[in-house]
Amino acid sequence: MTNPATESAPDGAREPIKQAAAPTAAGKPAATGSTPTPGVSLAPQVRRKDLTFLQRIYIPEIVKGMVLTIKQVFRPKFTRQYPEERWDPPPSFRGRPVLVEENGVERCVACGLCARVCPALAIEMQAAETPLEKERYPERFEINMLRCIFCGFCEEACPEEAIVMSDEYELVFRNTEDAIYGKDKLLMSTDRLKTRLEFLRKAR
């Protein structure tokens, strides 16, 4: 704390002009233009020569930079040429939520837990009765992909393991109506979701 700027600090809060400008005048010659500003000294500034001889002849510095660049050329490439080179997400990946389809019907029993737990209020459904063993099924099941935040709470809440996060990460829609995914787009067969279902069984 030997710096003059820190010592006179308490009134710096009230009068910050001098505070901020004082070091500018001391160490940064560039700040002294012809414009007079409070706190900036108009005395001519002398540029401190703190470059070493090697730095002044400039060539070694350039060579140093080039060495780094050339080294980089021979290191393995880090980037991926995306649309051509696909990326395979790990099983833990949370892509868009889908409904699990088993033997041609969805597992969902339209209990509404996922809709209740969804923090973004993205899920909407309408329940109806079915002669199947599960008795209830969702007549209409919609996830608004503009609202969904991919949090994974629906997957966590579902008692039937009927809604899971798939590995699909490319979502394209041309208008707002397309972004509301109905059952036609949400249903996905268990074969496609095998890795995720296995992962969930292990993790939970």
Binding site: A5, A9, G12, A20, P23, G33, T35, P38, G39, P90
Partner: protein, 394 residues
Amino acid sequence: MDPRAITAEPQARRPDTVPGLGRSLDSQEMVINMGPQHPSTHGVLRLELVVDGEIVVDVIPHIGYLHRCFEKHCEHMTSYQQVIPYADRLDYVAAMSNELGYVVGVERLLGIKVPERVEYIRVIMAEFSRIVSHLIAIGTYGMDIGAFTPFLYCMRDREHVLDIFERTCGARLLYNYMWVGGLSHDVPPDFQESVRRFCRYFKPNVKELNDLLSYNKIFVERTANVGVLPAAVAVNYAVSGPALRGSGVHWDLRRDDPYSIYDRFEFDIPVGLGLKGTVGDCWDRYMVRVHEMEQSVRIIEQAVEQLPPGDVQSAIPKRIRPNAGELYARTETPKGELGYYIVSDGTASPFRVKVKAPSFVNLSALPAMCRGAMISDVVAILGSIDIVLGEVDR
């Protein structure tokens, strides 16, 4: 605010005459806008600059472009758990740290103790997110000043951390990983090995970064002695985080008000020393971040060696219904002190959640740092505070 009211004040502060030169050099002030779509304002921040030629007389930040009603939103959730994905989105480059602050708060409110393994994994994740956040801060700071290469290097290193995050919790940016009382998933079996591999890989890269940027002549010229924030001014403005430590104040909540299990680890708290100029200049704030990354690696290495076995979900309560009461929980995020003030009325959803966002508070000290600087220095000063607009506007 009436813009004329803004310009009136700095003019009143100006001396009528320049000593020895009379009134002849008196010039006119001009108001210019920087942002909201300016590449160096790191998001949608509008700065109203009152300039006298090239010298900045005053800066008025205008915020709110990214306001998402986080606090009001929390009151309308059906449970405390649902706030977590939204807490992620406060400081979106260090989402794990935000989650940690929130879950620590709710757990204190509930009075539950989480298993050891959970604590260790949380600390590792929070420190990883500190590294990620500082890498972005450093990379974009270099880019603001005109050095493009370090940005790419920082992004490359960040990818490795994001890969670890992704394999653990399934997301690269917004994790929803720390839950009240536990974690959403256990870490993958090869977690410890991948963390060790990252630490081995990352340590030499800090040296490379120092060679490339930190001690670069041009970079030092642009940042040293610029935007000096004296310690007393920083404290008066309640600045926290690297911006406060850059001014030479030893204050870090991980050590001074330990939460989670930070009291078990050995780490140093780097502060600004004024090596290249004045204590509290932009270079000091920058360098504190570089050193903090090294310290984070140290904490991670200790934590991953001590990682105990166990179940990460055993303590997750079935119903989260804290007794009526209130609590302020503060944690040290990469940006500074993040505080959650949670009020419970005994129901399943919070009655009120107030967030004390470090970026917001640090931004308030910007005018004090910018007055008297050049216009191009404003970019350097703003980058050195490292704000994230998601957190400023909430």
